[in-house]
């Protein structure tokens, strides 16, 4: 088991290292094959090790850093939470690798792509499996780097490279807080082991826990694109579609949720931190859903919807249900990667056109893509009995079950967001599939390799509810039991559960009907203030540009021109100039004429004689 677990982590690393070293030097299909094989093998080993997760499995490979009282091992901890997450990561990654093999088939830089993709899977698994926070941080930064490299994969366009850099830096701002939290936790506990920290979290004072919780929240916000660090995700869509599906939908953006779930025993001690998490989640969910309504590019719609759904997961953690968060994380991973890969197929069908206003009629171009994409969309919209329906409902029900005004408000905003979600999902569906084709591009059909991996995802997405089917529907809440969270669940009366489900179905229908009324026939939307406001993501980019980027550049310029060139170099060169000036003055005395020198000699002589005369007189 230990070997299998180790292999799970190391196989993608080995694949990535092999491809980055030799990918350019071997025949063309080899990098692709190696990469897919590594991830699939990793999935299988993970599956093999899965049974060991129940009682928890620890593997310490070697001691990474050991100094004084500080020790960080490269150690893995395989518990139910890690197991379910690792299984999802490797599973989804396998399918996406297969899809990418089709999608990137003609790209000359394939080997760089697959090397980074494999390294990404490794880094993500490091986050998931790490038994201490430092190794988790390794994965945390590692996914950031791979995401950076993959967003800017088509580097010749400056916008792509800029988007990659933006993602790296914005997430790194979040990482600062995470780092401080890690340092502080070490100071408090003398160890970074996640188990120990969770076990001893109760020893801490309320203020400490609250600050730690908020620091972790900010760290999670960066990676998971939550307010206020969310601006990078929409731009990250510049990357190739499989990257968006893997990194910016299924795995990396949910790392923040995973972090909070992992340290839930610590975070949950502080009501303030929990409230903050819930607020961040629900506000982001609402914000991103509203932005998704205004987007024109298919992938940006999905990006904002991802942000919004991750907001739901934060909300779930914030209202105290890790199992609900993980449940939504899983179903979302399935249907959102399905949606992204479907979007990749649609973009191909539309001849590399991203704008949904220039699409339409895609249903006629490819039936399978239509069916698969719709499967994803109804999950997203919360179609009754689909996976997304159950998971979202569980989050809302948990919020509702608290019963106090704060949580009811959160519930209300959540429900409103659900309505908007349903609306923009069907807006997307109508614009892309209904009516006739509005563009001029000649599309080409996606290859089989791009279609087949979507099928299992669609099945998992639609049937995902089964893994945590509530008792009301005859299920046993398997996921909650597995995560050992069963006892924490709030029990609502049957009556209110029915009420909640009815509400959920109602908002789904409202969204559907509104979208039907507005988008059944395509009308070129008028340019409006609201539209532009939503399209630009509430102008947050411009705001940050004004209040952060530009002042920072002014600061740099001030330090450089004023501080370095003005003061520091000024003093240095000032010294130089002073001495040069004196030297020039002294130089006047040596004018090259003997008579001048002799005069000096005579004067000097006179002074000396005079001195002696005066002395003898005195």
């Amino acid at each position: 088991m230990a070997l299998l677990l180790t292999l799970t982590l190391l196989l993608p690393l080995a694949g990535g290292v092999f491809i980055s070293c030799f990918g350019e030097r071997v025949a063309k299909p080899i990098p692709v094959v190696v990469s897919c094989a590594a991830v699939i093998a990793s999935f299988l080993t993970c599956l093999g090790a899965f049974s060991a997760a129940g009682e928890g499995l620890r593997v310490v490979l070697f001691s990474w850093l050991k100094s004084g009282s500080f020790q960080a091992d490269v150690g893995l901890h395989f518990d139910p939470l890690a197991a379910i997450m690792a299984l999802m990561v490797t599973g989804v990654a396998s399918l996406i690798h297969l899809y990418a093999a089709g999608y990137m088939h003609d790209d000359p830089d394939q080997s760089r792509f697959f090397a980074l993709l494999n390294l990404f899977v490794f880094a993500m698994l490091a986050i998931v499996l790490a038994d201490n926070l430092l190794l988790m941080f390794l994965g945390w930064e590692g996914v950031g780097f791979c995401s950076y490299g993959l967003i800017g994969f088509w580097y010749r366009k400056t916008e792509n490279a800029n988007a990659g850099r933006k993602a790296f830096i914005v997430t790194r701002i979040g990482d600062l807080f995470f780092t401080v939290a890690v340092l502080w936790l070490f100071k408090l506990f003398g160890t970074l082991s996640i188990e120990t920290i969770n076990a001893r979290a109760g020893e801490l004072g309320l203020v400490t826990v609250t600050i730690l919780g908020l620091l972790l929240l900010l760290g999670a916000c960066g990676k998971s694109a939550q307010l206020p660090l969310m601006t990078w995700l929409a731009d990250a869509m510049a990357g190739p579609t499989p990257v968006s599906a893997l990194i910016h939908a299924a795995t990396m953006v949910t790392a923040g949720v995973y972090l909070l779930s992992r340290l839930f025993p610590l975070v949950s001690l502080s009501p303030v931190a929990m409230g903050a998490i819930a607020i961040v989640g629900v506000v982001t969910a609402l914000y991103a859903a509203s932005c998704a309504v205004g987007q024109r590019e298919i992938k940006r719609v999905l990006a904002y919807s991802t942000m919004s759904q991750v907001g739901y997961m934060f909300m779930a953690v914030g209202v105290g249900s890790v199992s609900a968060a993980m449940f939504h994380l899983l179903t979302h991973a399935f249907f959102k990667s399905l949606l992204f890969m479907g979007a990749g197929c649609i973009i191909n069908l539309a001849g590399h056109e991203n704008d949904i206003h220039l699409m339409g009629g895609m249903r006629k171009r490819s039936k399978p893509v239509f069916l698969l994409f719709m499967a994803g969309l109804i999950c997203l919209a919360g179609f009754p009995l689909s996976g997304g329906f159950f998971s979202k409902d569980q989050i809302l029900a948990t919020a509702f079950a608290h019963g106090d005004p704060f949580h009811l408000a959160i519930y209300a905003v959540g429900i409103l967001t659900a309505a908007i979600t349903s609306f923009y999902s069907f807006r997307l569906a109508y614009l892309v599939f209904a009516g006739d084709y509005r563009g001029e591009e000649q599309g080409h059909a996606p290859s089989g390799l791009m279609i087949w991996p979507l099928v299992p995802l669609a099945l998992f997405g639609l049937a995902g509810g089964l893994i945590n089917l509530p008792h009301l529907f005859g299920g046993h809440s398997w996921l909650a039991d597995w995560l050992g969270q069963g006892e924490e669940e709030f029990h609502l009366s049957v009556h209110s559960e029915y009420l909640l489900i009815a509400t959920a179905i109602a908002v789904f229908l409202i969204g559907l009907i509104l979208a039907h009324l507005r988008y059944r026939r395509f009308r070129e939307p008028a340019e409006r203030v609201v539209g532009r406001f939503l399209l630009s993501g509430w102008y947050f980019d411009g705001l940050y540009e004004r209040i952060l980027v530009r002042p920072f550049l002014y600061l740099c310029r001030f330090v450089w021109v004023g501080g370095e060139q003005g003061v520091v170099e000024g003093i240095v060169y000032g010294f130089g100039r002073t001495f040069t000036h004196w030297g020039k003055l002294l130089r006047l005395m040596t004018n090259g004429r003997i008579s001048t020198y002799l005069q000096g000699f005579v004067w000097g002589l006179l002074v000396i004689i005079g001195w002696f005369l005066l002395r003898s007189v005195a």
Binding site: R112, Y155, E564
Partner: protein, 494 residues
């Protein structure tokens, strides 16, 4: 100092003087322009092997792994005394390794190779000497010996504004060194008057009784020399010029080694000799370190010359090292030592990659460069790896040192560590800007795909392996550092 063994193989002396011998040989065979580089290569390779042999020496109870001590100028009490503990060992290996790299990478140096290679070899002697000298006069000699070859390397083989840079470098370091000289002589006289034993030995001078004021003045004089070399803000302004104008071998030595001599001088001489003054100065050092960390990072963000960006990044990283020293505990110090070594390797590697870009494109201007991945995929990949190591990506070299410094600092001085964490963000900003301007974006000349030369592979591969290995498994280094660091923290060797 025990001279228990009657005959000890003089490994340290051999390592120290072999480069000088090589330099003489180079000069002897001046008629054949190819011979000097071979002589230099063989010499540095031998020295590198010798330094690896030195690993096998087990540390004695006193902490020293190797010691050599004999009388040199008895009338003045100057002894020829060399000693190597774990810190020196690692720094010497770093020196010999980087020197080897520097020789290989400047293989095609066609401008006066007869002088270029001997100067590099003499520089190597100077640096090794600084890392192992235990007698203050000897230390001072080697300290100055580093200066002269470096001056000529920058001034003769540098880029456009080389003369100005060389002179600036010379004056800065010389001013600092003169303060050091004055302090050394005064300390010697004072100690002689007190005890009647006129000696320049480090251990003897530690016993001198000093009033608080005297101690502070001596400490400041010592620090003047070391602060210029490190460099500590605000004595850094020689560094960007010198780094930017020096030839590639000079830059490798400057960034990789010379800066470390400053830190080494502090921990080996300034702190143990004047412990009370040092203790009082720690907050000042930390503040200067933090200022340097931010200040240099902000300036780096606006530079157009990529060599200057990396030069400022060195100032920034050394600021972090300084914060680690100021935290004054085991974890932070081990982190600082580790970061010094890792920074030596990564920065040297980045500079080498930049030099190779420069050879191919003819420019270092970030506005003119771009999209080099297209024509130089291999070199760009190395460059990306080194840059990521430099910005502190976990699993690569610099991170191990940085995180230890942060952890160590946080346990004793949380506020400093929190500020330092902020500084780490800015290193990402300028590094990514540099990466962006160099290898991403629209392509610049040359457009055809070019592969690396064999000699370039030979240099880049070991560097890349080191960058990864030191990031993933720095444990052996930390083992070597543990005892010497704890001895130094307790006030030096017994």
């Amino acid at each position: 100092m025990n001279a228990a063994t009657p005959f000890q193989f003089p490994l340290l002396s051999l390592m120290l003087w072999l480069p000088v011998l090589g330099a003489v040989l180079c000069l002897v065979c001046y008629k054949k322009p190819d011979l000097p580089r071979w002589v230099a290569l063989i010499t540095t390779a031998l020295v590198f092997l010798l330094s690896l042999v030195a690993i096998s020496a087990e540390p004695a109870a006193s902490g020293w792994r190797l010691l050599e001590d004999c009388s040199w100028i008895p009338s003045l009490g100057i002894r020829y005394s060399l000693g190597m503990d774990g810190i020196s060992l690692l720094l010497v290996i770093l020196t010999t390794f980087l020197q080897l790299v520097a020789i290989v990478i400047s293989w095609r140096q066609d401008k006066f190779p007869v002088l270029f290679f001997p100067l590099l070899l003499i520089l190597e002697t100077g640096i090794i000497g600084v890392f192992i000298a235990l007698d203050l006069v000897l230390f001072y000699l080697f300290w100055e010996l580093m200066l002269i070859p470096m001056f000529f390397l920058i001034g003769v083989w540098g880029h456009e504004k080389r003369i100005q840079a060389a002179v600036k470098f010379f004056f800065f370091t010389l001013t600092g060194s003169l303060c050091l000289l004055i302090a050394v002589i005064s300390l010697y006289l004072l100690h002689g008057q007190q005890t009647g034993d006129y000696s320049f030995a480090l251990d003897a001078l530690k016993q001198t009784d000093l009033t608080a004021t005297q101690e502070l003045i001596f400490y400041l004089c010592f620090m003047a020399a070391f602060a210029v070399k490190v460099p500590i803000f605000p004595f850094h302004s020689w560094l960007p010029d010198a780094h930017a104008e020096a030839p590639v071998a000079g830059t490798v030595d400057l960034a990789g080694l010379l800066l470390k001599t400053g830190v080494y001088g502090m921990i080996r001489f300034a702190f143990p000799l004047f412990p009370h003054a040092a203790e009082k100065s720690l907050p000042v050092l930390a503040v200067l370190g933090i200022i340097g960390l931010f200040y240099a990072a902000w300036i780096a963000n606006l530079q157009r010359d990529i060599k200057r960006i990396v030069a400022y990044s060195s100032i920034s990283h050394l600021g972090l090292v300084l914060i680690g020293l100021a935290a004054w505990n085991q974890i932070a110090w081990e982190g600082s030592m580790l970061l010094m070594i890792n920074h030596g390797i990564t920065t040297a590697a980045v500079f080498i990659a930049i030099a190779l870009f420069h050879r191919r494109t003819g420019t270092r201007d970030i506005e003119k460069l771009g999209g080099l991945w297209q024509s130089q995929p291999n070199l760009s990949a190395f460059f990306l790896l080194f840059c990521m190591a430099s910005l502190g990506l976990p699993g690569l070299a610099n991170f191990a040192g940085e995180i230890l410094i942060l952890i160590g600092t946080f346990t004793s001085h949380s506020a400093w560590a929190i500020l330092a964490v902020g500084g780490v963000l800015f290193s990402a900003l300028y590094t990514l800007r540099m990466v962006q301007g160099t290898i991403w974006g629209p392509s610049c000349e040359p457009f055809e795909r070019q592969d690396l030369l064999a000699s370039e592979w030979l240099v880049l591969i070991p560097l890349a392996i080191l960058v990864v290995v030191l990031g993933c498994y720095p444990q052996p280094l930390l083992e070597v550092l543990r005892d010497p660091v704890s001895l130094l923290l307790q006030g030096g060797h017994p």
